[in-house]
Amino acid sequence: MKEFELEPGEHVVKEVRKHWFLFLGELLPFAILIVLPFALPKILVLAPPLAKYAMVFDYQTPLMRAALGVWLLIMWTSAWGAFTRYFLNAWILTNKRIATIKQRRFFYREVSSLLLPRVQDVTTNVTGIVSSLLGIGDIKVQSAGADVEFTMRGISHPEQMRDIILKYVSAKPETTGV
């Protein structure tokens, strides 16, 4: 935890990530590409002019087996990389601030913090049938400053997060330090 250290007396209240359903959507292309080498011979057989090419996909031969193994390895590693990025993107609410961590790609990371006393407005947005059924939405936090705005898209139950943020924003600070 290099760039996000808790201060004395600070504790994590809630940590949220993008909804799992949206993550599954990101995995869908990998799932299709993984199934492709198994489905292609069966699809080719259905088209008579191309049926003879179905026998190319004979995975009992060492070369095709190696090709299949490499293909699956690339797809698996890519999907795992997507999971890594999904997990490293997070919103962390503590009793003192909100921190957003955006891992756009490897070695490209943005971390921002907003102190709770500076929060002025919290807006949630849930649009669409699937989003309403699964409780997927966006949350936008605006500060008292000029143009500071935190937005997290596609989180689970944003209204619960909003209530928790407002609860901690309205809570009386433990010590003023004055």
Binding site: F38, Y59, L63, R65, G69, T77, L88, I92, F106
Partner: protein
């Protein structure tokens, strides 16, 4: 709309016969496998570094890394000698 029949194309296996002299298909496949495995190793090291540095000591980190390495090693083994260990039931 073209009325010519589809022209057959050379499958990937047949292309290996066009390799220059002294460079067998076995050597080509070996080097391709080396390149893929080297890329996998670098990518995995980078991802593991991110897990260890930025996952906030989450309990998910080590199972995620272990799963990735186990599945990857099984797939590598399958590519090399057809032995996929715990994935054998799912692969031809």
């Amino acid at each position: 709309m073209p009325d010519q029949p589809l022209q057959p194309f050379a499958p990937p296996v047949a292309l290996l016969q066009y390799l220059p002299g002294g460079f067998s298909s076995g050597i080509a496949v070996t080097w391709i496998l080396y390149a893929v495995f080297a890329f996998w190793a670098i990518y995995t090291l980078v991802a593991i570094y991110h897990w260890l540095a930025y996952s906030h000591a989450s309990w998910v980190a080590f199972p995620a890394m272990a799963t990735h390495i186990l599945v990857s090693l099984a797939l590598m083994s399958y590519a090399l000698n057809g032995q996929a260990f715990f994935l054998s039931n799912y692969l031809p």
